[in-house]
């Protein structure tokens, strides 16, 4: 067996130009798949990061509607205990939601108020970086709201507005205006500091703990640990459960990539089959001689398959190195998609995609190229093995 493998390797080396061209073709295909895969992973990363930063965190603990004082006690307790539950948990952000009618002069607007911890929130969510007027909680007693809501009410930073709930009406100053470019958020949401909540007529509130984990964490395991701490009335959910539209988009993206990989693999397969078939046709005479001295068709088949394996393996390695290098360089400065995503809420916070090498997207092109190479070699190998010796002997 070793002899035939050596023979196959020598055959590849002897036809250097053809081997090199075939090899470069496969390597280029693999590199393309690696880079495209990394871009796809980067796009998904950006979408998920944007979505979880604004909405849920990677894992979210959601509590039923309870009086605000009770909710406040519960979230403070969870804020203390959750980080110790699992070392994959990096940040825990308490958020309390309640609906209000926001009024200014004669105008009014329904708004969902979120009570947050400004310092922690500023580190994790994009709102602080998207202020168009005022500063993010420069006044810890103030209200931060979206630009669309401010426009509708005709208010600016420093103006006084009223929050009306079923219970009562409270005055609050606008301390900052943000713009995310997402209509639902710019018009429908406002932030206050958690410390301000006791002075407001919130009544019953929904509470949640947005849990942010280190990249690559097994979120199901984190969720399981958080669940151990939760009350029966609380739900612990992963981001993809809370945001199924984003999760579906990520899956769609992965499926598109799969189709792309399949197409590249098919093209590679035909290229390899063509190159090997040409190589086999060039060597009919050699194969005839081998068969004449007693080499079985099966052994000739092994030689051709081994040639394809060697070329596929080397090309896969070269292509992976090449693709990884391009990705690493590219990931340093990213790919600004703002021109194409300005109206897309999933890119509103950050539209720069940083290609990332994910193990699967590096290994799949390698395996696919190797598999395509080997599969493509079957036909030329059968042709070589089945060629009649006598037919070729007469041409010797």
């Amino acid at each position: 067996m070793n002899f035939w493998l050596r023979f196959a390797l020598r055959s590849c080396l002897r036809r250097r130009r053809r081997t090199l061209i075939t090899l470069l073709g496969i390597a280029f295909g693999v590199a393309t798949m690696v880079v495209l895969g990394a871009v796809m992973v980067g796009v998904n990363d950006t979408m998920i990061k944007n979505a979880v930063a604004i909405h849920t965190g990677n894992v979210v603990l959601q509590g039923d509607s309870v009086p605000s004082a009770q909710a406040l006690t519960r979230v403070n307790k969870l804020a203390d205990s959750l980080p110790a539950v699992d070392d994959r948990i990096k940040t825990v952000l308490p958020r309390l939601h309640f609906p209000v009618l926001l009024t200014a002069d004669q105008r009014s607007l329904p708004l969902n108020i979120v009570a947050v911890t400004p310092k922690l929130e500023a580190l994790q969510t994009p709102i602080a970086g998207r202020m168009v007027s005022g500063k993010y909680f420069a006044d810890s007693q103030g209200l931060v709201l979206g630009a669309a809501a401010a426009d509708k009410l005709g208010i600016e930073v420093g103006d006084q507005v009223f929050l009306i709930t079923r219970a009562q009406r409270s005055a609050i100053k606008v301390s900052g205006i943000f713009s995310l470019g997402v209509a639902g958020l710019d018009q429908g949401i406002g932030f206050i500091a958690l410390a301000r909540l006791p002075t407001l007529p919130a009544g019953s509130v929904n509470y949640e703990m947005a849990i942010f984990c280190s990249p690559g964490s097994d979120l199901r395991k984190v969720a399981a640990r958080v669940r151990d701490l939760s009350l029966p009335s609380e739900k612990v959910r992963l981001w993809d459960d809370v945001l199924p539209d984003v999760a579906q988009l990520v899956k769609l993206n992965e499926f598109s990539m799969l189709i792309m990989v399949a197409l590249v693999v098919i093209i590679l397969g035909f290229g390899v089959a063509n190159a090997l078939l040409m190589s086999v046709m060039d060597r009919y005479r050699s194969f005839a001689v081998l068969k004449a001295i007693g080499v079985r068709p099966r052994e000739i088949f092994i030689v051709i398959m081994a040639e394809a394996f060697f070329m596929g393996l080397l090309a896969a390695v070269i292509g992976t190195i090449l693709g990884s290098l391009v990705t690493l360089i590219w990931s340093g400065f990213g790919l600004d998609l703002s021109h194409y995503t300005s109206s897309n809420p999933l890119f509103s916070v950050n539209s720069t995609v940083y290609p990332r090498l994910a193990p699967v997207m590096v290994l799949v092109p390698q395996a696919a190229a190797l598999g395509a190479g080997i599969l493509a070699a079957v036909w030329p190998a059968l042709v070589a093995g089945r060629r009649s010796v006598n037919q070729v002997m007469r041409g010797l």
Partner: protein, 228 residues
């Protein structure tokens, strides 16, 4: 004691399709060749020499008739079984040297031994001996393309006999060589045949070659004209 003949051919026919009709390459041929014989198969081009060698080498099957080599019938063997029979019993030398360009001289000579699963130590010893005998040891690690025509053909001879076959089939092995190189190759074959009792059948139409053989079989239009 009755010795089994090397070759027994009984009423063998072999034809090929040619256009609308068929060409009879071997026409009802019957012949016996004793073990250890050295035969020159002569005749003009198209007389059926190469077809007969192909049939004897189990490279193709006759349309009818029977071929037995050393008592074993070969016309019923399938391709894989024929390959195994060839690797154990037959050595081939072609008009062209037909060496593997991917392999060194030593590796080319080694090939038949690998096919019959000879131990590595024995391979090394036998290859070394035959290359020395044929004065080719200095080319052991060279690739065939760096050798002259005569040297290549001597390597081909070494490859054909290294596994000590019972039958050596040679199809005009000196046709592409100059006189000196041809003589050297023929001398080598004659020496090997004499020392090992090898049965040699060599197709040729060169009088200088066939005159060296004690027995000649002349073919014409697929039939044996004389000598059998």
């Amino acid at each position: 004691m009755i010795l089994t003949p090397a070759v027994q051919i009984e009423q063998v026919c072999r034809s090929y399709k040619s256009g609308a009709g068929r060409i009879m390459a071997i026409d009802n041929l019957t012949c016996t060749i004793a073990a250890g014989a050295q035969i020159a198969l002569i005749g003009p081009s198209g007389s059926g020499k190469t077809t007969l060698l192909s049939l004897l080498g189990a490279l193709e099957r006759p349309d009818s008739g029977k071929i037995a080599l050393f008592g074993e019938e070969i016309n019923g063997l399938n391709e894989a079984a024929a390959a195994v029979f060839r690797r154990q019993n037959i050595g081939f030398i072609f008009q062209d040297d037909a060496l593997m360009p991917e392999l060194t001289v030593a590796e080319n000579v080694t090939l038949p031994l690998i096919l019959i699963k000879t131990a590595a130590r024995e391979i090394k010893q036998r290859v070394g001996e035959i290359l020395t005998d044929l004065n080719l040891q200095q080319f052991s690690r060279s690739f065939p393309q760096s050798l002259s025509g005569g040297e290549k053909q001597r390597v081909a001879v070494a490859r054909a006999v290294i596994h000590q076959p019972k039958l050596l089939l040679a199809d005009e092995p000196t046709a592409n060589l100059d006189r000196r190189a041809a003589d050297k190759v023929l001398d080598t074959i004659a020496k090997l045949a004499a020392t090992s009792g090898l049965t040699v059948i060599m197709a040729t139409h060169d009088p200088r070659v066939y005159q060296r053989f004690p027995r000649k079989l002349e073919m014409c239009d697929g039939k044996l004209m004389c000598g059998c």
